[in-house]
């Protein structure tokens, strides 16, 4: 039994790694196409039909580029930093149920690597560890732009973890469990049971925080090309830079899953329709990341801080207090 569980887990890990690495690649393709259509242009068109093989071309390019370690950097930390970003993003995926459980060849599969009872806490924690990627990479780069980017990254991540942490506190008080499976089952009764409707404030706060945590427009400050060139990634090239990229896109997917499961009912009752509904919701959230990028300018770092500490955090606290009172009486 133990061996079977081990084999099953390893298979799941491999599948998730492969699927989401590929999805990160497709993510860039979607992003370029979606942005292109919103911006009255075509996007990638030359490599393969509709530019579909562009991802392969990009991948080959990144993998075969020379691995440049510039003079003056701290080599060990410089090399490790991108791995941290990518690794923590995938490790966070361990506690996310990607689909409802299904039966294949008479064997019941739970598409979750580890149903741990602190699921959401683990996911949030792991994403928070991802901060070490930009932090160490920026500090080890021996570049002033990277340094500023690191300072921004730390400030942004810490602020927004406060908001996202406080925002999910209220729904968790209602559910009474940290497991994402339990959270999903709590909303299994249909659309009216979605936490987004009972906790709209928490939903929107978490959504805003998700933009900051993934560093997407309008909170695209950490690697803001107009100000900081590529921020912590300025000195990186080739696949090391690519790892940062994969980490960022994987994070976008995983946080979309978390939002869909936490607030929009996840896969509901576990039917096939529910499974597709979950994927649809994830696709919507992912699309929304791209949509805002096409529509909005970026805020300034100090405006972001103002927003967190003076607006979002007080709102989150008030939301928790009110939820507490409602639950008590």
């Amino acid at each position: 039994m133990d061996t079977a569980l081990l084999v099953e887990t390893v298979i799941k890990i491999v599948v998730i790694l492969l699927v989401f690495s590929a999805l990160a690649g497709f993510g860039t393709y979607f992003e370029r196409k979606v942005l292109a259509f919103m911006q009255r242009r075509l996007g990638p068109m030359n490599v393969g039909p509709y530019g579909l093989l562009q991802i392969a071309a990009d991948g080959i390019k990144l993998f075969t580029k020379e691995d440049i370690i510039p003079a003056g950097v701290v080599p060990l930390i410089f090399k490790i930093a991108p791995v941290i970003t990518a690794a923590t993003a995938f490790m966070a995926a361990a506690a996310i149920p990607f689909l409802p459980s299904f039966t294949i060849f008479g064997y019941e599969v739970h598409p979750i690597v580890a149903d741990i009872n602190i699921g959401i806490l683990y996911v949030m924690g792991m994403m928070a560890v991802g901060l070490y990627g930009p932090l160490l990479g920026g500090l080890a780069s021996n570049n002033k732009y990277s340094l500023i980017s690191t300072a921004r990254a730390v400030a942004v991540f810490i602020s927004y973890e406060v908001v996202s942490g406080l925002a999910i506190l209220a729904p968790l008080m209602m559910v009474g469990s940290l497991s994402l499976l339990d959270i999903n089952d709590y909303q299994a009764g249909g659309i009216t049971h979605w936490i987004a409707f009972s906790q709209p404030v928490a939903f929107i706060l978490f959504w805003i925080a998700a933009f900051a945590e993934t560093g997407r427009t309008p909170f695209h400050l950490i690697a803001n090309d107009h100000e900081l060139i590529d921020g912590f990634g300025t000195e990186y090239s080739g696949m090391r830079w690519g790892l940062f990229f994969i980490g960022e896109y994987a994070n976008m997917f995983f946080i979309s899953f978390v939002m869909a499961i936490m607030f929009l009912g996840g896969y509901g009752d576990g039917s096939v329709a529910g499974a597709f509904a979950l994927l649809g919701k994830v696709a919507f959230f992912f699309f929304f990341f791209l949509w805002t990028r096409a529509a909005w300018p970026d805020v300034r770092p100090d405006q972001l801080m103002w927003l967190t500490w003076k607006v979002l955090m007080p709102l989150a606290v008030i939301n928790v207090v009110i939820t507490g009172f409602v639950l008590m009486f």
């Binding site: 942005l35 919103m38 911006q39 009255r40 242009r41 002033k144 732009y145 340094l147 500023i148 300072a151 921004r152 427009t217 309008p218 695209h220 803001n224 090309d225 107009h226 100000e227 060139i229 990028r293 096409a294 529509a295 909005w296 300018p297 970026d298 805020v299 300034r300 770092p301 100090d302 405006q303």
Partner: protein
């Protein structure tokens, strides 16, 4: 004589004076130069247009001294021009930086190019040429082919230390960061060294000259007509505008007037250039804020203008379409249709971009109250064009001193009120609207007729004549090899270009090549103010402030 000159002449008593329409040129003694300029500034000529020098070493008529300083001032209402000239003996003259902030960089340029020293100047060092450069290129004894190899960049800490001391800051408490010369936000090659406290800029120093190609020296070695392609490269976002500015100055020197149709076509192309340039500005500005989509909404219609220009002149970017006394050829058949496409698409692009940002809170928070400059400072820095109008000063020469029939056209001068980034953006959006209005009016009233003047000493003969008659061949030969002869004079002519007042100060010696040419480039005067206006703002603000000045390195560095 306009009344404004009466008190001036009563007090100054110049050595020589020439008056034409609203403009007065005087020559004064070098001893009283500073006092005279100070008095002129207090008597209503409080806008410094340009400072330059002339080296008379190889001038046909030897004057009293080798060098003369030339100061060009404008009256408060922008309508009268005062040129003060003074021969200097010992290559030294008193700085007027305490009267005009613009004088700082303009005097540095004179020092750089001519080696004339300015006493009491706060920071007399080179500005366009490299600091390792030996000699002064615009001196007549500097041989044009004498190239020099300069390689080591300046640390700029000499200027930065002065700034730090001025603001009572300590060297070790700040991080020094080079924004440029190669940085995504530097829009060309501009270097700004900033002292950062966190992300706040405490002091800044700007260095330019990375694109300096010696336009003025080159002009002295080409015939008047050969200079036209060089003018394309001044503000390369609106090449035709520079063409017109140059040929208009030359035509005024020659005393000729182009036919009405040529004037109309010029106005039409100038306004199209204005639209094109503003579209580039707005696209780049909004991208610097992260608003990516606007870039294509605004750049796609610009492509239509480029297609129009390439159909018309054969070149997309550097058109060289204008000629002294007219233009290379008439509009093509069916241009009206293309013009209609341009107007429709530009209006649609602007409307779409505005729809994205007009009521966007993030945009407002980013652009408002950022990079503010007061109208007083802007005037003192010699700002002009949309940047000055954003401060609420009406400086539009098209309205104040109309040329080419601008007075018969119906358009509004767009003014801001606050002088911040937001105003500079919105003024340009509205100016595009006004330019479209002008283009439509021109199209409706365009008359038939000649586009060139009939003077064979200025305009090349028809190719048919050249191939069939000896007179034609000789005419072509003389004009091409000897150039158009301009009788000896010193003249400053200007137009309202996209970025502001684009002026050409030309000294002619009767031959076919200019003896001296100085371009009054609006961007040069705009960038000089940058270090002061980004101070105490965030790094992110500095990036959008630089973008909002629409610095075009081609005309700034010349």
């Amino acid at each position: 004589m306009p009344n404004i000159f009466t008190p001036l002449l009563a007090r100054i008593s110049p050595l020589k004076q020439t008056l034409s329409e609203d403009d007065l040129s005087i020559e004064v003694d070098a001893k009283n130069l500073f006092n005279n300029i100070e008095f002129a500034a207090s008597a209503g000529f409080d806008y410094l247009v340009d400072i330059t020098a002339v080296d008379y070493l190889s001038y046909p008529k030897t004057p009293v001294a080798r060098y003369a300083m030339v100061y060009i001032l404008r009256s408060t209402d922008f309508k009268s021009l005062l040129t003060i000239k003074s021969f200097i003996i010992n290559e030294e003259v008193e700085s007027i930086t305490q009267l005009f902030k613009a004088a700082n960089w303009l005097e540095r340029e004179v020092y750089d190019q001519y080696g004339i020293k300015f006493t009491n100047h706060p920071n007399l060092k080179r500005v366009l040429n490299h600091h390792e450069f030996v000699g002064h290129p615009l001196r007549k004894d500097y041989i044009i082919t004498n190239g020099q190899h300069c390689s080591i960049a300046e640390s700029l800490m000499d200027e930065m230390d002065v700034q730090l001391e001025k603001h009572n800051l300590k060297d070790e408490e700040h991080m020094f960061l080079n924004l440029g010369p190669s940085h995504p936000a530097s829009h060309g090659t501009i270097r700004t060294l900033v002292a950062l406290d966190g992300e706040r800029i405490k002091a800044a120093v700007t260095e330019i000259g990375y694109l300096h190609r010696g336009f003025e020296k080159s002009a002295e070695h080409h015939t008047y007509s050969q200079v036209i392609p060089y003018t394309d490269r001044l503000n390369y976002c609106s090449a035709v505008m520079n063409n017109v500015g140059y040929v208009k100055t030359l035509e005024e020197m020659l005393g000729v007037h182009v036919p009405k149709r040529a004037e109309q076509i010029r106005v039409m192309l100038m306004e199209l250039s204005r639209i094109m340039d503003h579209l580039v500005f707005l696209a780049a500005q909004l991208v610097d804020m992260g608003a990516l989509t606007n870039y294509w909404y605004l750049y796609n219609p610009r492509e239509d203008v480029y297609n129009f220009l390439s159909k018309l002149s054969g070149a997309r970017l550097t058109n060289s379409y204008m000629r002294i006394g007219g233009m290379s050829h008439d509009l093509y058949d069916g241009y009206e249709e293309d013009l209609q496409t341009i107007i429709t698409n530009v209006q649609k692009g602007c409307a779409d971009a505005l729809a994205l940002i007009k009521h966007n809170r993030i945009f407002h928070d980013r652009a408002k109250d950022v990079g503010i400059i007061s109208a007083k400072d802007a005037l003192s820095y010699g700002w002009s064009g949309p940047n000055l109008r954003a401060c609420g000063v009406n400086s539009d020469m098209r309205y104040l001193k109309p040329y080419y029939g601008y007075d018969e056209l119906d358009f509004d001068v767009v003014l801001g009120s606050h002088g911040d980034v937001y105003d500079r953006i919105m003024v340009r959006f509205e100016e595009i609207e006004q330019s479209i209005k002008i283009v439509k009016q021109i199209q409706a009233t365009l008359i038939d007729g000649e586009i060139n003047i009939a003077d064979r000493s200025i305009i090349l003969p028809q190719k048919k004549e050249v191939y069939t008659s000896i007179e034609g061949v000789m005419n072509q030969f003389k004009l091409t090899f000897e150039g158009i002869k301009v009788k000896p004079q010193e003249y400053y002519g200007s137009i309202e270009a996209v970025n502001g007042e684009l002026g050409f100060y030309v000294v002619s010696d009767g031959s076919g090549t200019p003896y001296k040419m100085k371009v009054r480039a609006p961007s040069f005067l705009h960038i000089a103010a940058l270090p002061e206006i980004i101070q105490e703002y965030q790094l992110a603000d500095a990036v959008i402030t630089l973008a909002s000045l629409n610095i075009i390195a081609g005309e700034m560095d010349r």
